[in-house]
Each structure stands twice: as C-alpha cells, then as structure tokens.
C-alpha cells in the first residue's frame, strides 16, 4: 500500500491539567491549538467535608467552585449554613485540581502552560481530560517509529534521490518550520542541526539507532515515543540504519513538496494535506527486505523466485526467496504495511 488517502482517526493524549479543549463535533485545523492546560506544582490539600460537617458525597451540593477552575487565595471553595456558616477557602492562588472521595480539595499552583496541537484536520470525535481524537482525511504514510513531539509544517525535499543520505549541509535556517524529507538515512548530525535551525521535523527511510540514542537518551527503543519537551522530531519509515526509499514512496514526496504536513509521533504517521486527486492511489509500495545481518531494510525490487528450503550462512534452514541481491529468508520479506 504505502501512500493512501482516506479517513484517519488521530488520538492526541493530554497531560494533566487541561483547561480548554474542543467539544465533540467541533472542526479543527492542522497545527491549531487543540487543547491547552496548565503545568501544576505540588498541590495543597484542604480539608473539606469534615470541616463543613457534611458527608463527602454532599460536598458537591455545597461546593462553590468546580474542579478545574482557577482560584485565588481566600476564594470560597464550599460553604454551609446561613447564620453560623462553615466555610472552606483556598489557602493560595492556583487551580482546584481534584476533590478526594473524602471530600477534601486539592489546590495546585500554576507553574506554566501547555498546548497540544492538532495533527489532523477534521472533526473532533472524542474529547475528555485524557485525550482528544480527531477524524479527518489526508494523504497518509505509515512509518515504523517516530520520536520527539508532534511536528507541523510544509514538506521540503532534502535529498535528490531516494537512496541519498540527508547531508547536514543541506539543512539550514531557510528550512525552518518545514518537514524535511531525507532519503535512505538521516545522520545524528543532521538531526541536531535541523533542530538548531528550527526545522519542524525529519522524515526518512531510516535513522541510525545510535544517533537516536544520542539525541533522545539511552531509554529510547525501536517503538519510538512521543515527548512534550522541545526536541527534534524524526519519523523512520522503513527501519533503522539505512533504508533506501522505494520509488512508490519517494515520488509522491516530490509531488507533495510545499504542501502542509504533520507528523503524529504516537502512531508514527505522516499526514499530507493535499488534494486527493493529486496522486494515483494505485501506486503500491513494494515489499521490504530485512538484510541478513539485520543492519538495514531495503525495498524488494526486480525478479524474484522461491528457492524452497534453503540453508543460510548462519546454519538456519527456511524457505528462501531469490532476489537480485541474493537469496533471503522468506520471513525477512514483509509487505510495506505489514504490522510490525
């Protein structure tokens, strides 16, 4: 399959402390703020039900402030009685973040703000404090792993051929806020340089795993991972090491150059917002081959034939497939879109 145009569901997880988010059915645009919230400090617990002399489940009835609301020191959180009133007030400025089952209030200071932006244009289909999901249509390319925060920008080619490596020298400040398409590989130097030049994101067949460790830390895994802090965004389409892009994947990048795009890191997908008619949807990506030493991934091209059960250099026996680059184990050949 490779590139395809169609409806996509994109889930954006939210950190704790959301203050605004869209309602289900709202229309959103790619790159626009989807939800905003506050970074919260250590909260203060304020005794509620016991001080008010009510049962915890009755605190709702006497509460004056909803969970999630901003308060200033002295704000009345809850109040009972008329002549001999019992009152619970906020001891500090901040937000009412939580009410415990025992009827106590938690007030946390606001230490900063966060914003989650939409990586898809369409309609909100789910919205709660945990996540906002958007459904929309776009040209979509599934990658194998992505790293960093979600990225938004215009697509720009950074290489001249699908087998080229993105040279750090090709990355400069003129490419700021763009998503650069590398070829078979993006070196760690190119990743850090792109970040320094305010490039929005990088897409390539593969990235060196060691370079990813340098950029994202030793905890990085092959599954990728989204981060919220300011880091480069990298989308690996085929694997790690080297991964020459098949023409069926690379040529649409040429056509899409200049169009708005987004990388959704959690699902390792690239969305390009271009007209459906722009590309021939029947352009199938070839199968992929994992090299015998696991060092890289390449597209399966040219004539192939089954060789039956074959003995490989490692003494392993399994069905083989003769390719122009030699016989490969059949399990090491997978369709582009195979789950992995």
């Amino acid at each position: 399959m490779g590139w395809r145009y169609g409806p996509q569901l994109v889930e954006h997880s939210l950190p704790i402390g959301a203050t605004s988010r869209p309602s289900v059915g709202d229309a959103v645009r790619m790159g626009s703020p989807l939800a905003t919230g506050t970074v919260l400090g250590s909260p203060t617990r304020v005794v509620g039900a016991r001080k008010l002399g009510v049962e915890p489940e009755d605190v709702d009835r006497v509460a004056r402030v909803a969970v999630g609301a901003d308060v200033i020191a002295g704000t009345v959180l809850a109040r009972t009685g008329r002549r001999f009133a019992r009152v619970v007030t906020a001891p500090r400025d901040g937000r009412l973040v939580h009410r415990s089952y025992e009827g106590d209030f938690y007030i946390a200071p606001v230490a900063g703000t966060w914003t989650v932006r939409a990586t898809m244009e369409g309609t909100v289909v789910r919205s709660d404090d945990a996540a906002v999901s958007v459904e929309g249509s776009a040209w979509t390319l599934q990658g194998v792993a992505a790293y960093g925060p979600d990225a938004f920008g215009e697509l720009a080619l950074g290489v001249d051929a699908p087998t080229d490596e993105l040279a750090p020298g090709r990355v400069d400040v003129r490419l700021h806020d763009k998503i650069i398409v590398g070829g078979a590989r993006i070196a760690a130097e190119a990743i850090t340089r792109a970040h320094a030049c305010a490039v929005a994101g990088l897409v390539a067949g593969a990235a060196p795993a060691g370079g990813l460790r340098v950029v994202y830390g030793d905890e990085v895994t092959a599954s990728g991972g989204s981060t919220r802090e300011d880091r480069p965004t990298v989308l690996c389409l085929l694997g790690f090491g080297t991964g020459a892009l098949p023409n069926a994947i690379y040529r649409p990048f040429v056509a899409f150059s200049g169009h708005r795009a987004a990388i959704h890191v959690a699902s390792a997908r690239l969305f390009v917002f271009a007209p459906e008619a722009m590309l021939d949807a029947s352009l199938d990506a070839p199968a992929l081959v994992l090299s015998g030493d696991f060092g890289g991934v390449r597209p399966l091209e040219g004539e192939t034939s089954l060789t039956g059960v074959t003995r490989f250099a490692s003494d392993a026996f399994c069905e083989g497939l003769a390719t122009k680059d030699g016989v490969v184990p059949v399990p090491n050949v997978l369709p582009y879109d195979a789950p992995r």
């Binding site: 950190p15 704790i16 402390g17 919260l40 400090g41 250590s42 909260p43 617990r45 973040v97 939580h98 415990s100 089952y101 025992e102 938690y106 946390a108 709660d128 404090d129 945990a130 996540a131 194998v144 792993a145 060196p208 795993a209 060691g210 370079g211 460790r213 030793d218 905890e219 895994t221 092959a222 599954s223 694997g239 790690f240 090491g241 994992l290 090299s291 015998g292 030493d293 696991f294 060092g295 890289g296 991934v297 490989f312 250099a313 490692s314 003494d315 392993a316 026996f317 399994c318 490969v328 184990p329 399990p331 090491n332 997978l334 789950p339 992995r340």
Partner: protein, 499 residues
C-alpha cells in the same frame, strides 16, 4: 457368527503455537489413549483446536507500603502473572499528587495491585488511589484496581476508588493470593479470547508434567517477546517468573535497554561497534519472526538470549525466588533459545544465562512440540481432566537429553571420573570448559571435591564447567574475544569462519 473387532477410535486435535507473528501448527492424533504429533500438519484445524499465544500486554502498577519483604512478595506476584510491572509506588513516595498522577497516566496502567499490609497503611494507599483517579479516571478503558490485605482497610480503599472498577482478592502474601492475582492478570491478558492458552500456562503445565515423573524440573523459555523460568516439583507446586517484554526478538530493544549495549555486546565473539549493533537490535525488534541469515545476526540473537535470561533471573532475585529458578536437576530450554540450528548454541545460552552451580540434565525443545504438549495438557486440566497419562508417551519420546552439565568450581587441577573411568583427554583445572563425549546415564566425580553427580548425557555429552560462578568475562576485547571463542569452540562451534 463372531463379532468383528471394532477399529481403534481415532481423535484428531490441532494445537497452534503462536510465535512472534506466525503460528506453528501441530496436528495430534489420539488413538487408544495415546497421542502422536504430526510434524507435517494440515492447513485445516480440527474441531478440537487449542491456540497458544502471549495474550495482550498487561501493564501493572503496584501500590504498597515500604518494606523490602513486601516488595519481594508483590514482585513475585507480578512475575507469576506474566504482566509487566511498569510502576511501583510506595506509600512513602515523596512525590506529590500531581507527579504521582502524571506518572500513572504516562505509564498507561491496565491494572493496579494495591496491598494494604496493615491498617495503618490505608491512608497512604488511599492517597495513591486519589492520584490514580486524577491521572487515569478519564481513560477508556479505565484501569482496574485489585485490592488485597487487611480487610477493613481494603474496604476503605475500595470506597476511595470511586469511578474505577475495584476487585478484592486474597492477600498475595499467601500462595493462594499469588495464584488468584496471576489468574486475574491472565484473564486480562486473554481479554475476550477466552479459549486462548497463554504461553506461560503451557510452560507451567509442561514443567508439572515433567516433574510428575519424580524429579524437579525447570523450564527455561526465551522467546522473541518474553522470557520465562518455571520450576515444578513432583507434588505439582510451581514457582514461576514470566518476564515481558524481554526476549531475543521483538523485545530485543527492551533487552538492550535493560542490559545495556555492552551487556549484550560482551557475548558476541568478535568486535562489533555499539551503533552497528544497536541498529541490528532495533531492526530485529521491528521485524517479527525475522530469520538470522548471517552468522553475525545469529550471534546477536544468542547474545540477546543470554542477557534476557540473566535479567529474568535478576527479576527473580528481586522477588526472592532466584535459587529455585536457577538450580534444578532437569532443565528444559524452549522457545527461540531452543530453536537455534546448533544444539550447542542452546546449551551455551542455558549454561551461561542460568550460571547454575548445580549439575543438571539439559533438554531442548527444538521444534516447539513440548510447548504444544504443555498447552494441550493445560487445556485438559482447565476442563477438569488429568492429562498426565494421555501425554506421557509423547512426552517421553520428545524429552531427549541434550547434555549433562556439571559445574565444578575449582581452585587447582583435579581429575575427572566418568562412570568410574578416569577421563584423561581434557585437563580439568580452574577456568576449564569442555565436553566429554558420552550418551546415556552418567556418573561424574571430580577428585578432591564433593562433586558426585548423576544425570543423563546426550548429543553434547557431558559438559564440564569449571569457569566459576558468577561467570566473568574479561572487559577488554583482546581478552574477551579469545575467551568467548574458546567457550564456543569447546562445544564444537564454527566461530572461526565467521570471525
């Protein structure tokens, strides 16, 4: 007129054993109470169809009071369940409500095990439950909480968990509590696939079947995405550690994250730079059921299997169950570690990974048939039957000794006697590692020591291991590589051609 003898009844079963993404199918014929496994299975499953798989990943957080003993027990419960322990929060945790809630949200917890050891810990546990409510209440599906321990405090914790599904289970400090928690986690991993036999259930049943013959049995399973150690005794009692994700295939990257690059690289008998190795690890992790076509990839898988096994034992040590899971008179290796083309690769992984100081008869399940037998038996037992007699013959046929491994910690040169005869071909001194050609029952004595071991030798004979415990590898490549090559060569490996 005489009645014609009736034809023997024949019953056909199918067992599908899931690998990383593929499935290996076994067709099993039952005639007159005996099973026979077909190595050339048909494409169509029979009506009696057993499926063995890993189930879905279950991410578990634990809430508990401080105390190392409590932590050991809870780790043991999680290891027995096959779930992944993603967060261990103590009531003394110094983080505030927001940080705890954020940690729980980021950990994407499926199940929380909250143990209230004594009534005074209830306040702390309730605070942790408040953090769970703040962090995960809106998640769909919401995480479940399993509360155990002091009954009154458990009820208070249950009341605090408004909006989150709660169950009360027996205290995991008692054996039935561990069993109940493991059962609950397995239900979660099975999801709606009620007929699925989990791989860890099959391994436990296999260990029970083998141990029922009168000897404690240890099953060591290193597969692509999980690593298990299961010990059973003749009474049927099982101690198990199922660690996921940790393995030599799709969890290769997780193994490297735990062991470190150098931890894995040290087992590769030639020089390889860290970035190159990491690329191979990452590609392997994202390519289910990939075949190591080149020797370098095979060496990587062997190294990963070594470390997966070592780190499963580290987890078992943290849970206080390492001794039973290291030493058993009979060891069976299953999974990817048993499927290497050469039996000696399997032996090296088991010997070095377990680093057991006790002699053991080593077996390997090269084609996965023993796991299929275990799965079939687990299904029968779950249905209320006793599978022992039915699978006995096939189990005997498949359970072929590979080697008799005798660790011999030595301080100076000694003499080796095998079945009473002195063995003079190899020098037995500190650091020695060699194989003595022998098949069948073997008595091994080392003069001047208390070693007097009895076991059964197989294809790899008797393996004498005087390298000492813990096994130490020289840090420098110049010494490490020749040492590793010597160990590989000792078990007849063609490493030279690769190097």
């Amino acid at each position: 007129m005489t009645a014609e003898p009736s034809a023997p009844t024949r019953y056909r079963r199918t067992v599908d054993v899931a690998l990383e993404s593929r499935v290996r199918r076994w067709t099993i014929d039952e005639r007159e109470g005996h099973l026979s496994f077909d190595d050339q299975p048909t494409d169509d499953p029979s009506d009696d169809h057993t499926r063995v798989g890993y189930g879905r990943a279950a991410r578990v957080a634990v809430f508990a009071g401080p105390g190392p003993e409590l932590e050991r027990i809870l780790r043991r419960a999680v290891l027995a369940s096959g779930a992944e322990l993603v967060l261990f929060l103590r009531t003394t945790d110094e983080r505030g409500l927001i940080e705890r809630a954020a940690a729980l949200r980021d950990a994407r917890v499926d199940l929380v095990l909250a143990l209230i050891a004594e009534r005074g810990e209830a306040d702390g546990i309730v605070d942790l439950i408040e953090a769970l409510r703040l962090g995960c209440a809106d998640r769909a599906p919401a995480p479940r909480i399993v509360v155990a321990g002091e009954p009154h405090a458990a009820l208070r914790a249950k009341a605090a968990a408004t909006g989150v599904p709660v169950e009360l289970l027996p205290d995991p400090r008692r054996p039935e509590g561990i069993t109940a928690f493991a059962h609950r986690c397995r239900e979660l991993r099975r999801g709606t696939d009620h007929g699925l036999i989990l791989r860890d259930e099959a391994l436990e049943e296999l260990a029970r079947l083998v141990a029922a013959r009168g000897t404690d049995a240890l099953v060591v399973d290193v597969s692509g995405g999980s690593t298990s150690l299961v010990r059973a005794d003749p009474r049927g009692d099982v101690v198990a550690a199922h660690v996921a994700p940790l393995g030599s295939g799709v969890a290769a990257d997780r193994t490297v994250r735990r062991a470190g690059l150098d931890g894995v690289r040290r087992w590769i008998p030639w020089a390889i730079d860290a970035p190159t190795m990491l690329e191979r690890v990452f590609n392997r992790a994202r390519w289910p059921d990939a075949v190591a076509a080149e020797a370098s990839a095979l060496a990587l898988e062997i190294a990963l299997a070594h470390e997966a096994l070592s780190h499963a034992l580290v987890d078992a040590a943290d849970a206080g169950i390492v001794e039973p899971l290291r030493d058993a008179p009979l060891t069976i290796v299953t999974g990817a570690a048993a499927s290497f083309a050469r039996a000696s690769h399997t032996a090296l992984v088991a010997i070095d990974g377990l680093a057991s100081p006790m002699p053991t008869t080593l077996h390997r399940d090269a084609d996965g048939a023993l796991v299929a037998i275990g799965a079939l038996a687990a299904r029968m037992r779950a249905a209320g039957g006793d599978p022992t007699a039915l699978v006995s013959e096939e189990l005997t046929r498949r359970l072929v000794p590979l080697a008799f491994v005798v660790p011999a910690p030595l301080s100076r040169r000694r003499k080796l006697r095998v079945n009473g005869a002195e063995h003079l071909d190899d020098e037995l001194g500190p650091g020695a590692f060699f194989s003595v050609r022998q098949r069948g029952p073997a008595d091994v004595q080392v003069t001047g020591t208390s070693i007097d071991a009895h076991g059964t030798a197989g294809e790899l004979g008797i393996i004498l291991d005087a390298r000492g415990r813990p096994l130490l590898l020289p840090p420098r490549d110049a010494e490490r590589i020749p040492t590793l090559v010597r160990w590989f060569a000792a078990l007849d490996l063609a490493v030279a051609s690769v190097a």
